[in-house]
Symmetry: C2
Subunit: 228 residues, 2 copies
DNA sequence: CTGGTGTTCAGGGCTGGCCCTGATGACGGC
DNA sequence: GCCGTCATCAGGGCCAGCCCTGAACACCAG
């Protein structure tokens, strides 16, 4: 079996070198190591590697550039597997990465990669057209849309919560009692699987859940259309 | 003075017809009325109007399409003024609309347009290369970045708040006492001008303030680069 | 008819979060 | 030295929001 080729993109040079070392010793040929998305695009176009590894957050903004680049590479170079490394699970954005296919794509959470061998196995799978997702990622992908579990009324109230309205403002606006709003809030939190945890501020988490579709939509506009 | 030409885009046909009536009676020539952004782009390319009026939220997604289209038109048709109508003030997204220039652009809040004559005046100014911004919009544009008023520590704590962390989780993570975190939270809220109001849930509002740059960045990626 | 879902509301209890005041120490600028 | 800013922390108080239980009614499907 021939050596698989890889291009690595991560602005953290130390981490990038470490990955290069790991993959190199595992038999991959490192074709390039880049620190930003634009350079990665050029290198991938030049080398046409079996695998492109991206940190999700790249310069200049450290927000979305890695994911944008990864999704674009998936479209423009269908023979290049794309492996994304992330600190956090960005479920809805992840869905956009796999919207056309889950072949040749991987999404791993940096802190949950349990060993070098796991990482190498994942890289090899993705490079050869398979997929590799962190189990948390798989669970999130197979789950339905949490917001879809809300009733119409609950959705309406969550939208007001997400505007930073107090319960009192909400009950006045919707002509309900304080108790009714509280009941709905409680139901919303449970429907969204936001159970009491000492570390969580659940109202904020519910807001974040509500805002995600919007973020995804903004992001969708950043991408080329999927091939049919 | 020749009649100014205009293309209107708003998926609410009734509102669109009403605007057409108003502008028509004010001497504008209505070149086209469209319901979505793609149709608007084609019509503007065909008619090259003096003014393009957009509702900010257009189909198919009713999220950003109007603003995307408006910003693109600004780039591709520099002689066409762009007037955006919105329900809410989206400050940071607005900034992207005026990033290259504030000539030939307007942003009005639908609920704050105080009369037909005001609207017509604004349309005329924008169509002839001027600008028209709701006073609230002007105030927001001239104000600095609220997040820039935070100290490094405050910014760090706000980022944790925005992840939906409880105060207890934050104090444990940063090895501070509960009291210290509370002090920082209080300072953050005041720095962000989030004073106690019975209608507000201020912690959520602080989170929304924090998340705005990210939204803007996602949106920036959706736009063509500004001409230099 | 039964069961499930959605909507509304109540009583009662608890606490995380916020408020205010005050203090200390470090640092930098004038 | 003085002042302002930042960071840390304390004491004490209050309450919006959440929790739990329970109830009633409407509607729909089986």
């Amino acid at each position: 079996m021939r050596d698989l080729t890889v291009v690595l993109t991560d602005d953290a040079a130390l981490f990038r070198e470490a990955l290069a070392g790991v993959l190199g010793r595992a038999g991959f040929r490192i074709r390039a190591q880049l620190g930003d998305a634009a350079a990665a695009r050029a290198a991938i176009a030049e080398h046409r590697p079996d695998l492109a590894v991206f940190d999700i957050r790249l310069p200049p903004t450290h927000t979305l550039e890695g994911l944008v680049a990864a999704a674009e590479i998936r479209e423009s170079h269908p023979d290049t597997g794309v492996l994304v490394l992330s600190q956090h699970l960005e479920t809805r954005l992840l869905r956009m990465l796999v919207r056309s296919s889950s072949r040749g794509v991987g999404y791993l959470l940096k802190e949950r990669v349990t060993g070098i061998q796991d990482f190498v196995d994942a890289a090899r799978r993705v490079a050869t057209g398979g997929c590799a997702f962190d189990p948390e990622v798989v669970r999130a992908l197979t789950r339905g849309d949490p917001l879809g579990r809300l009733s119409e009324r609950e959705h309406e109230i969550l939208s007001l919560i997400a505007q930073g309205r107090s319960n009192m403002a909400i009950c006045e606006q919707l002509r309900l009692t304080k108790k009714t709003v509280e009941s709905h809030v409680r139901s919303i939190l449970l429907r969204l699987d936001l159970h009491p945890q000492p570390d969580d501020h659940r109202r904020v988490l519910a807001v974040l859940e509500y805002l995600r579709p919007w973020s995804e939509e903004a992001y969708r506009l950043a991408l080329p259309p999927p091939r049919t």
